[in-house]
Symmetry: C2
Subunit: 258 residues, 2 copies
DNA sequence: AGAGTAATTCAACGATGGATGAAATGATGC
DNA sequence: GCATCATTTCATCCATCGTTGAATTACTCT
């Protein structure tokens, strides 16, 4: 017994049997398909189509019918596998979140266990945190790019920015902050968290590849230029952390100091 | 002759006069209202309601009916004033964009004309660029906060991140970059633009006040803490610019240098 | 005072939204 | 070889969507 059965149980005797209507016209293309391997599983077809569309138009800008049309699949199948539209979105979001999160934890652990000569640095930790995502973004193909565009939208939406992001990403971020704290013993947590906030904004916007910088710079910069991002983002962010989190560099610019 | 007349002209004789239906039931509450001053104009009521809802749910997550219901106004009135849903959104977006853009240009001009003793600094320019928004965010009330939440979503959406943001914000950004270039004669444009990109992400996410950092820090930080942002954002960002744009500070972290 | 115009509401249109019950059909296990 | 199960499609439900034509009422100008 799989999803359908569960669903039917949940919805026991909800409606009257409304459908005394027309007789069925038995046509082709119905029922369980021949198990022809090699083709993508329908469930994955739906996920992939949804990923593309959500990346471009956001959750509310996409209809389930658009997704299933792109996947060449019946509408009902999306509900069969994912129950609701929201369930489909969550499935898209989860699929890759698990992967980068694991890679990130591993990267930070490895860096801390074995930093280069001279010991661990702020830039080193930031790099370890960024690298897995950067790598997927640069070489993971359209699927990963679409996924990162979705993350950017979720991160910047009040409705989801709080809970959805938290559930999936908080542990990794705490791991990063632990690492940074270990090499900045004097840093206050409040400074570390705010610095991460700025990091988060810069990161998600950049990987979202909105095309904004291309236009702004009249084509001088390209959103998709991985080398450009690779050589600048970590240094930029590390400099910010150094400035904000190391007390000696803090200079109150007029405002009161908390 | 105002909007309605223009609209009717545009749609000359488009449809057959479909409506041989029921007779009108003349009730209260119709037609042009008595000119009772002191109350908000209906056009503004619609704009305000739309601003709130767009901030929370995004363009596609809001229906025109929700907006007019919150504004206590008939649906048709929204189309009377703004033609389409998109027109309504643009009106919301434009209303405040004009204000901050003007203030920002003025702030940067003034800073460059009269920096403190010691001359202009990177941090000074950044501060001049941020201050008008910061001020509105901190003291402008819910309207401005909602507006900035909308900006964050637009900025991070591929569909609009390119064109919509460009049309309204590019001139100010170029003004900022001109200022920065004037005190960093050796800086390459490509570095300045990429640095701005990181600034942009940090800025829009922070002002969007998604509540993310509150949860992440277990309540240690509050999204709405203006003093915390005021004392950290400009230094963080200025440090990043210094690091990326001043050649002597550039150190290639393994990747190839463009 | 009457004609014209601006602002507001009513009532509907056609399309489409998410969702689901039931039929169909191949695979699986006994 | 037959009953059960998992997967897929068909056909539809009902609510709601953006948008509009026309009626209605108040204000403005002559």
């Amino acid at each position: 017994m799989t999803r359908k059965a569960l669903k039917r149980e949940r919805a026991t005797a909800r409606r009257k049997p409304i459908r005394p209507k027309g007789t069925r016209t038995p046509k082709r293309n119905r029922g369980r398909p021949a198990k022809e391997d090699g083709t993508e599983l329908m469930r994955d077809r739906i996920l992939n189509a949804a990923e593309e569309l959500f990346a471009e138009h956001g959750f509310d800008g996409v209809t389930v019918r658009q997704v299933t049309r792109r996947a060449n699949v019946d509408v009902a199948l999306a509900h069969y596998y994912f129950d609701t539209k929201r369930g489909l979105f969550d499935a898209v979001f989860l699929r890759r979140a698990a992967i980068i999160n694991e890679e990130r934890i591993k990267a930070i652990d490895e860096y801390q266990a074995n930093p280069g000569p001279g010991g661990a640095t702020i830039e080193g930790f930031i790099q370890a945190f960024l690298d897995p995502v950067m790598e997927r973004w640069a070489t993971g193909g359209k699927g990963w790019k679409d996924y990162l565009a979705i993350v950017a939208q979720v991160n910047n939406t009040p409705k989801w920015g709080g809970e959805t992001m938290a559930r999936y990403f908080d542990p990794v971020i705490h791991r990063l902050i632990d690492g940074l704290r270990s090499i900045m013993p004097g840093a206050r947590d409040i400074d570390l968290y705010w610095s991460y906030q700025f990091l988060s904004g810069a990161l998600t916007l950049t990987f979202a590849e909105t095309g904004r910088i291309d236009r702004l710079s009249s084509g001088l910069c390209r959103s998709s230029d991985e080398a450009a991002v690779r050589s600048r983002m970590a240094p930029y962010i590390a400099a910010g952390f150094r400035c904000v989190c190391l007390a000696k560099n803090r200079k109150p610019p007029g405002g009161k100091q908390p």
